[in-house]
Symmetry: D2
Amino acid sequence: MRVGIIGATGYGGAELLRLLNQHPHVEDIVLYSSSKEGMNIQESYPHVSEIYNQTLKKIHIDSVKSEVDTVFLATPPGVSAEWSAAIADAGCQVIDLSGDLRLEDPATYEKWYKRKSAPVSLIKNAVYGLPEWNRELIKKAKIISNPGCYPTATLLGLAPLVQKGLIDEDSIIVDAKSGTSGAGRSPSAITHYSEMNENFKIYQINTHKHVPEIEQILHRWNKDISTITFQPHLVPMVRGIMATIYVKAIKQTNEKELRELYQTAYQNECFVRIRPEGQFPATKEVYGSNYCDIGITYDERTGRITVVSVIDNVVKGASGQAIQNFNIMNGFEEGTGLNIVPMYP
Amino acid sequence: MRVGIIGATGYGGAELLRLLNQHPHVEDIVLYSSSKEGMNIQESYPHVSEIYNQTLKKIHIDSVKSEVDTVFLATPPGVSAEWSAAIADAGCQVIDLSGDLRLEDPATYEKWYKRKSAPVSLIKNAVYGLPEWNRELIKKAKIISNPGCYPTATLLGLAPLVQKGLIDEDSIIVDAKSGTSGAGRSPSAITHYSEMNENFKIYQINTHKHVPEIEQILHRWNKDISTITFQPHLVPMVRGIMATIYVKAIKQTNEKELRELYQTAYQNECFVRIRPEGQFPATKEVYGSNYCDIGITYDERTGRITVVSVIDNVVKGASGQAIQNFNIMNGFEEGTGLNIVPMYP
Amino acid sequence: MRVGIIGATGYGGAELLRLLNQHPHVEDIVLYSSSKEGMNIQESYPHVSEIYNQTLKKIHIDSVKSEVDTVFLATPPGVSAEWSAAIADAGCQVIDLSGDLRLEDPATYEKWYKRKSAPVSLIKNAVYGLPEWNRELIKKAKIISNPGCYPTATLLGLAPLVQKGLIDEDSIIVDAKSGTSGAGRSPSAITHYSEMNENFKIYQINTHKHVPEIEQILHRWNKDISTITFQPHLVPMVRGIMATIYVKAIKQTNEKELRELYQTAYQNECFVRIRPEGQFPATKEVYGSNYCDIGITYDERTGRITVVSVIDNVVKGASGQAIQNFNIMNGFEEGTGLNIVPMYP
Amino acid sequence: MRVGIIGATGYGGAELLRLLNQHPHVEDIVLYSSSKEGMNIQESYPHVSEIYNQTLKKIHIDSVKSEVDTVFLATPPGVSAEWSAAIADAGCQVIDLSGDLRLEDPATYEKWYKRKSAPVSLIKNAVYGLPEWNRELIKKAKIISNPGCYPTATLLGLAPLVQKGLIDEDSIIVDAKSGTSGAGRSPSAITHYSEMNENFKIYQINTHKHVPEIEQILHRWNKDISTITFQPHLVPMVRGIMATIYVKAIKQTNEKELRELYQTAYQNECFVRIRPEGQFPATKEVYGSNYCDIGITYDERTGRITVVSVIDNVVKGASGQAIQNFNIMNGFEEGTGLNIVPMYP
């Protein structure tokens, strides 16, 4: 396969370069840019010296068509809305890591993203790329809308409970914590080292763009769920997301029963690991890998279930999951190029 | 005043040394230890070189009685249970930073702390040292039980809502995040640098010792509250606690109304700062100071109120609050020695 | 005293706000800005809420003259060159934390700073504010040129050896490491959290602006010294500088002899602490304080002396030292407002 | 190949597990322990859940002989001295990551390591595993003594200059900085998170065990070199080493000439990357990979050459280099299983 990357100078792009380098079915990688054409990727990323020597090329649909089979878009808002339809029409697979195509209702998109939605016709053709719960549609997709980092951790953590209807549908609270890489590569006051180190921040209170994405999928799984409380925070670290999820059980349960529910739900999944009794995951335990690790327990005193779900936001929360989708779309074994032991410590 | 410190080689003790050094009414500081007598404090803490030159002395009630007026106990579990009664009987004020005297019910203590409670007679005489809500009793106290770090941030964040009965009493969820200094100075696998940096951890799920402490006070304020969900996490930073508090409003409200409630409740408090509209505090904004900064908002979609409360766990969550209590007990202006601008960045 | 600060929104300015707040002889603080007039300081720094409520004022010499006695300039290059002469002529003391007035030779300034030097007439009137070695001139100064952060740590570490002529004058190598706050508050790719955390960087190889500043002073102390090797690095932490200094002894010596030399040299200094045998300082041991801690040893195998000098770059390396100079200029006890125990941990 | 690991619960062992998992010629991995037999590796390392399920086995030479072809020892001092001879005699290849077999002179070992040396007969048979400069001997070796982390970065940085005799042999100063993983997995006061974060430390001044190892190899390359100054520091990060190397050129040179020297020296090396003009490496640019990145320059003012050499201490400084040696010993392509793009950010 020959693959193209638009947005290789961002963190999602860098991670695609890291992961695709060891993918046995990828023989050629072409880098495109809508703004930095002519630059060698090593100028932006010295860490790929002597590995990648490509120059960023301008996006021309005709060249794209002749040069690659699949295009990954690791781009800021608006780029996918502009290019995905044309790329797909040219016959290439599209895997979009941005949020452009995730929300099916343009009004919802415009409310939360504060910008114009992509055309409905394009959105309709995009399949939500959460393999564990949407694999059949992904197999036949031409355009993948890759899930957001927070939705990936949250939805994998909530799916078994929500799909089985075991919880009060009005009780979902997700307290999420992320490393700074999720904020991207553009320097800002918020992620300036001197202001972020030895600091813990809350941000975008009740307004994060991933809220409607999570609600849309939960609602698909369980019509009684309409709104959730989802609150992100910034941790002084680079990679990793933990979603601590609190829900009310509709009837008494216990840790053993819950663990069995999760183990059954994910027994055939190669990238979801359920922790044994009394163990809960830390973010470093999935560092650099495509795993989502989940711990679960029940508190008899309060009747609440706590689910702890961790991912590496740059891998399972972005580029790793994109490659997982790439594998499924092309009939490769799902873990191809992704069988990476987490880096520890 | 002449003050004694038991446990000066721990972090609570080090912080007392830092803060008491600039207290205008403290003229002499004597260091006691139950295990390290004979050691000079500089051996343990080179940062106090040429400032403190004391040797740790063995605890003898007769010496304590003649040497100091007030004793701060910044000690592991059990030390206060053993010594506080005798020290108070000797006529010294006792300010206990440990958890020994906080829970009024011995059975509750023994369930959560997994060890024997202090005698009820001692606990009965100890006043809970949360100045903002217990000032009158503190003024007359001989023994102060200084609040835990998490309870301080949580209770200051919840008090106005709970006392006014504005929330569903069964809906309280506190997702708390702490720097590692709260875990103390003893090296452990959990706080080993290589395992804690670039990592975010959840711990003591549904079992943290501060749960019954928080519940006890909330229940005093509002008899309908019996249990809460409180969940701590470890952040890769040294100092700081953020409590993100989620509660259900019993009727529709708005941010302005809530802010006014908090501003009124804390208008005479020198160490509680309510953030203006749209602003929420980060932990670094109280770094090294005795402030508790609070932000609050309401989400119309879910009917939930979010309160964000931050403190420096070693100051307002321990030694600073202890000195605040010391000031109140002795009729000093409450902020004496504590009027410190947070260190930023 | 009434003091003015130009540049309060930078880190040097924030630190002046922290330290001056507890200075007993400072009764009024006025904030000036050449670019952000009209902004309340709390908008820039929420951590000073309810402590400082000033609005930044435009710099007018007439207002400055009537409003304040001393002006601290914590400003980017060029501001002091523009304003210091006028402020001094208006009768105010000037304490300049920038590098504008440090180099006596304009050609040297222009070579290393790559910009036009301040007028020689202005530079001539500025006294280099390193109190430990320039106290008599500081007492009579109207304009202080406050030393750079690296020069402070380096010069205090080298002074006894250089002044006594105990080392090969061609052998000085200073390997310096700094926290990121030294790079200031403007976001940049270099200090973007995701690029700086879990990373250690070298920068400005053989070209750092502090090289000629260090050489100028060393040369004053010992005419045989002309050039040194000075190399800075960035550490993933916010505050702190360590200068590891390697020099060749001209004759055999030993640790005891060297320690005595340093203890004698600094015996009357309140902010320089020499470590006892076998102990060397870490940056955290001076965190938030005005101390410079020094350790020293000799290696018989190589004939080299190693000096380790640490400071908090924002305090002794900038704002704390500025206040130390302020105290000397005004006849206050030198440590006034600066007797701070380092914050640990 | 079937490989055994002794010491899998340490960081070197964990990294072998990560890297060997993707090695195409390793079909079986057996874990041995001299102290934790019977424990499942997942108890120690949850991050390998569902990847490794081995139980640590007691070391019996007969079992080792029948179970594996190669044994990696990632062990504390003394274990290799005890077991390596027997394992080699049993016909297995030995790759020792500890320092037991690195120093050829037992007296030197005993002076620096403060413990008894391994038998000379064993040390004589061990080949120093620095592939770039010892490849021919490694090909024929039965026992590899894998270099220390600091020596790897230092020797690769110095080799071209030293071998060509271009520097004053008495002028070598290596200022080295390491992440905390080099200190191993046992909790200690030095690497306790609260004491190490926001801190920069110097340690083992003039006494680090890697000094004689570096000197031994430099002396082999250039008989005029006998002693160097090598000084390590601890950086608040987990992985990465930077060696900043200062040497005096014996005659004037320039950056271009030096770069060509290095490019020529390493032109056939797959794991050494020489940076282009004006660029110097940061540790993160080799994070998780087997690269050693080198930058070099010359200062006309001082006549000194500065070499900056960075590695990931756990990979090229330990387990990655061990696998590189494993590949060479067995005739595999040298980069097999190690062609990893550094993880960034």
